[in-house]
């Protein structure tokens, strides 16, 4: 059996996420990040940020909602029960701070098959309210027994 590749290149509507100060703090505590710039507005400003700044991996919080429609898209055809998250890459640009409104657009970058496994690769591009790119994510999901 082969994977279907017709969905390669397909894009999904932008997903918008408004970043909150307490959400940044909650995320930072969950991963054990202790730098005061994630919690304290004055500390963040002293360090040159516009406001309390998100840890880099907070990218997951504002961009995952953009990737989900692709994972569940019948045109992509992922068998969710046999899917594992195989790999992840982020490339960061402008820092994300409290009050930012982040818009993320996801496209199906590649679908391929190797050794009975399907590889489904999505690319998400996130920009802030000023149009500056904040992060670009590459999400690789692997489905066994395609």
């Amino acid at each position: 059996m082969a994977v279907k590749t017709e969905a390669v290149g397909k894009a999904y509507p932008p997903f918008e996420y408004e970043v909150g100060k307490e959400k940044i703090a909650e995320y930072a505590r969950a991963i054990g990040a202790e730098n005061p710039v994630h919690f304290d507005r004055e500390a963040a400003r002293e360090a040159g940020f516009r406001d309390v700044v998100a840890p880099p991996m907070f990218a997951v919080v504002y961009s995952a909602g953009s990737v989900a429609p692709g994972i569940f898209d019948p045109d992509v055809g992922i068998d969710f029960a046999r899917m594992v998250h195989g790999g992840q890459e982020f490339v960061w640009d402008e820092p994300v701070v409290s009050g930012d409104v982040i818009s993320t657009t996801t496209t199906v970058k590649d679908i391929s098959e190797k050794g009975g496994k399907g590889f489904y690769v999505f690319e998400s591009v996130s920009t802030n309210q000023d149009g500056a790119e904040v992060v670009r994510g590459t999400w690789t999901n692997i489905v066994r027994g395609v």
Partner: protein
């Protein structure tokens, strides 16, 4: 640090609840992470850590080489392999491959939960 040098190790011993806190923080409530009974029903030893939580620890270890500056991390790519579990120490190790490029991995004992991690660090000093 120069090529070939080890970066400082990051050691974290999660208690029983990091997956629950991470689920709340990230919005990923997949029951394999927060419900041991469910996890065992689908063949896992117990509830498992979120891969992206472990990746966040790798990101912390990489950024720590630049005093934890959130601007320092330019790129991080990882492969998820073994599954991490709560209540066991996680060790993130890394070496400097070349100026501004690190190779890292995260392990619980012999179980390497993140492999082939590669980080690019941007210079944040003025």
């Amino acid at each position: 640090m120069k090529p070939g040098d080890d970066i400082p190790e990051l050691k974290v011993t999660p208690d029983r609840y990091p997956p629950h806190r991470y689920a709340g923080a990230s919005g990923d409530f997949n029951p394999i992470h927060i419900d041991t009974e469910f996890a065992q029903q689908v063949g896992l030893p117990r509830n498992i850590l979120h891969g992206l939580y472990s990746m966040a620890l790798v990101a912390r270890a990489a950024a720590a080489t630049a005093d934890g500056d959130p601007r320092a991390l330019k790129r991080l790519s990882v492969q998820f392999r073994g599954m991490g579990v709560p209540e066991e120490e996680i060790t993130v190790t890394g070496t400097v491959r070349e100026d501004g490029v690190l190779d890292l991995e995260a392990a619980q004992g012999e179980n390497r939960i993140i492999r082939n991690a590669e980080a690019e660090i941007r210079s944040t000093s003025p």
